[in-house]
Symmetry: C2
Subunit: 226 residues, 2 copies
C-alpha cells in the first residue's frame, strides 16, 4: 500500500513528536519553578535523558521552544474557556460568568503559564510578536461568541473608526455581533487581563481585597454596559 504509507504519520515522526512533547512538559515543569529565565536547555535535556545539544534536533532555538510553549498555552486557555462556555446552562449571563471564572481559574492554576502569555518570551521581535498576537485570538473569540448571544442582533454597520475593527472581526469569522458590543468585549478582555495580572502578582491579597467580588462586579458592569 504505497498510498497509505505515504500519508501515514510514519513511525519515526511519531517518536519525534513524542520526544518534542516530553521536552515541552519538562520545560513547563522547570518553568513552574523559577520563571522563564531559569528555563535551561541543558537542564531540560538532562531531565528527558539526553545531553544539551540533542535538543537542537527538535527545536531550532531556545526562543522557539518558548514561543511554542506560549502558543500551546493560548490554545489550552482557549479550549478551557470554550469548554466552560458549553458546560453549563444556556443562559447568556451565566455562560459569560462561567467563562470569566474559567479564565481566572486557569490563570490561578498555572500562573507561570499565564505569565508566559501575558509577557511573551520577553525579547520583542516583531515577527514573533505578531504571530503570538495571532495565537491569542482564538481565546478572545470564545468570549466574543459567548457575548454574541447576549447582544441583540444589531444593525450597526462598520463606519468611521470602527471599520478596521469590523475587518478584523470578519477575518476571524465573527458575525452577528455589533461593533459596539465587540468593542465592549475587548474591554472586558482587557479588564480581566488586568485583574488577573494583579491578583497573580499578589497585589490584592497584600491590600486585603477579596478578588471574587471584583470579578462579579466586572461581569455585572459589562452586562449593564450593553
Amino acid at each position: 500500500m504505497a498510498a497509505e504509507s505515504r500519508t501515514e504519520p510514519g513511525l519515526r515522526d511519531r517518536f519525534r513528536a513524542q520526544v518534542r512533547q516530553e521536552v515541552k512538559t519538562a520545560a513547563l515543569r522547570q518553568l513552574a519553578e523559577g520563571g522563564p529565565e531559569a528555563l535551561s536547555l541543558n537542564a531540560i535535556a538532562k531531565q528527558v535523558g539526553m545531553t544539551g545539544p540533542a535538543l537542537y534536533r527538535y527545536f531550532t532555538n531556545r526562543d522557539s521552544l518558548l514561543t511554542e510553549l506560549v502558543i500551546d498555552a493560548y490554545g489550552d486557555l482557549a479550549s478551557t474557556l470554550s469548554h466552560a462556555a458549553d458546560a453549563g446552562t444556556t443562559d447568556p449571563v451565566a455562560r459569560l460568568t462561567a467563562v470569566v471564572e474559567a479564565y481566572r481559574a486557569w490563570a490561578l492554576a498555572e500562573p507561570h503559564r499565564y505569565r508566559l502569555l501575558f509577557r511573551a518570551p520577553l525579547q520583542g521581535y516583531d515577527a514573533q510578536s505578531t504571530s503570538l498576537v495571532e495565537a491569542s485570538q482564538p481565546a478572545m473569540k470564545v468570549v466574543l461568541e459567548v457575548v454574541g448571544a447576549l447582544a441583540k442582533p444589531g444593525t450597526a454597520v462598520a463606519e468611521g473608526p470602527a471599520a478596521q475593527f469590523r475587518e478584523w472581526m470578519n477575518h476571524h469569522e465573527i458575525v452577528d455581533v455589533p461593533e459596539a458590543v465587540a468593542l465592549r468585549t475587548t474591554m472586558l478582555w482587557a479588564h480581566l487581563h488586568g485583574l488577573v495580572g494583579l491578583e497573580i502578582e499578589g497585589n490584592f491579597t497584600s491590600m486585603g481585597i477579596d478578588p471574587v467580588s471584583l470579578y462579579e462586579s466586572e461581569v455585572k458592569d459589562f452586562v449593564r454596559s450593553l
Copy 2:
C-alpha cells in the same frame, strides 16, 4: 565641625551615588533595546567605562540592580501621575481623566520600563515580590486621592470582608474615602493595567482598534459606577 562632617553626605558617597546612577541609566538604555534578558552587567560596565566585576561594588546582584530599576520606575510613575493630577483644573473628573491619560502616556513612552513593573524581574522570590508590591502603592495612592475628591464623604465603616482593606487604607493614610469607592478605584487601576498591557503588546493595533476611545469609556464608566 564634627557634627557636620558626620551628617554630611561625604564627598566619596556622592561620587558613589553618581556612579550608581550612571550604571542605572546605562542599564535602562540597554533595557530599552532587548528587554530584561538582554541586560548584561558586563556590557553595562563597559558602557560606563569599567570592567564587569567592578559593578559588584555598587550592586550586590544582577537582580538587585533590576529590582532597583523597578522601584525607581514605580517612583517615577507615581510622581508623573501626581503631577498630572495637580497640573490642570480642579474639576474632579477632569483630574481623573488627566491621571488616566498620564498613566497611559507614561507606559507608551517607556514600554520597557512599564513591562519591568508589570512583570517584575521575573524570578518570583517572595521577599522581593512583597517589597515590589509595596513600591507600587504610592502610584495607586495618587489615583485614590484624585478619586477621593470625586466621592462624597461617605459614612461607610469597615465591616465584613472590607475590614482588611480598610486596614490597608489606614496604613497608607487614605482617609475620607469610603471602602466601596476605594474598591472601585482598585478596579479602575486593574483595568488600566489591562488596557495598557494589551496596547503595549500591540494587540489593539493588530485588531484595528483605536485605544483612545477605550480609555475614554473607562473613565466614563468609572464615574458612572460611583
